[in-house]
Symmetry: C2
Subunit: 203 residues, 2 copies
């Protein structure tokens, strides 16, 4: 039996869907990221969440839409984290990037690192009409824009190109991190980024 929660603060103003939907979101996020989206069935999700299938389909129209929701949440969170690091180190763009990269590198060295969930979703759903793929593309485009802004702050001669070069590095860490694990190519990302910055900012 699932334990019943006694939630005294029951306001209808925000987030009326109290438990089930959120538990499903968390479970889906966990399972989708670790095992891949197509590899996880809805039965596994509801079991992991301690709810039942109808509860899932009351909150989400389909598995595809649940997937899109998963990507949306994770993507917005990632972009917000990026912004937070930017805000925490004002007027030091190189330091901002370093913090972000070191953080990424640390995660990429984790035993069960699985790369970027957004990129992975794009791999699993190549069809550009798929709801999950649309969200993934949106997130990636916005990240690309942020990197161009960062490259501008870094003083690049061609910021859009430095931003793209850095994006290549990021995607490289995502992929190689999950393929090679600790000790993989991701170990050089800091110095590689420095090399790119120096090259694009020198005159």
């Amino acid at each position: 039996m699932t334990k019943r929660n006694s939630n005294p603060a029951r306001s209808q103003t925000c987030e009326a869907p109290k438990r089930a939907a959120e538990r499903i979101r968390e479970s889906a996020r966990d399972l989708f990221y670790r095992q891949g989206i197509r590899a996880v069935g809805v039965d596994e999700i509801v079991t992991h969440a301690g709810v039942t299938k109808p509860s899932l389909y009351r909150s989400f129209p389909s598995k595809d839409e649940l997937t899109a929701d998963y990507l949306r949440h994770m993507g917005e969170e990632g972009l917000a984290r990026f912004d937070a690091i930017i805000a925490a180190n004002p007027s030091d763009p190189r330091g901002q990037l370093r913090v972000w990269l070191r953080d990424l590198q640390k995660k990429a060295n984790g035993k069960d690192y699985r790369g970027c969930g957004t990129t992975n979703a794009a791999v699993e759903y190549p069809d550009r009409g798929h709801p999950a793929r649309k969200v993934a593309s949106d997130i990636k485009n916005r990240f690309r824009t942020k990197l161009v802004a960062l490259a501008t702050a870094l003083g690049a001669k061609t910021p859009d190109r430095l931003g793209d070069a850095l994006l290549l590095l990021f995607e490289g860490v995502y992929a190689s991190g999950q393929i090679f694990g600790a000790g993989g190519p991701a170990r050089v990302v800091l110095e590689a980024a420095d090399a790119l910055i120096d090259s694009y900012c020198s005159q």
Copy 2:
């Protein structure tokens, strides 16, 4: 291994009745690469190949093994292509890399580019015990070694690190190519590689 049983008297060339196994291989490669492995069922493969399911299971013990075979063939081919470019431009390592990169870039600009099938397979099969994943890891390790050799030829101070930096770039092109399509970050890979080489080779 498939049994060698071609009859010399019967076949003028291995042409007219293309063997079922080979048709299956080709179809699997086509479908797996374009749509993803988990997205393609064995029924779709045999239909596309114009054969029937038992023919598949006579040549391959399981879908997982067919997948491993697909990755093995594609990977060996890719590594051989790399070697061929190296051999075609002796004593010009930078030129070798440029040829390889320009070729990759051209493919990455294709309308339905889907990145590296090996990387994609690793994304779809995170379990390191899976036969497909094992093949993928092997191919990637060998590619990494080749890049270190190239970095050595380029005269890098720390060839293993330049090789890894270049590998990050490659994986970046694979991922961003299929996400952003033409006009994506892959457009800067040539100059980014040059920047990395210069940095790692300068003293």
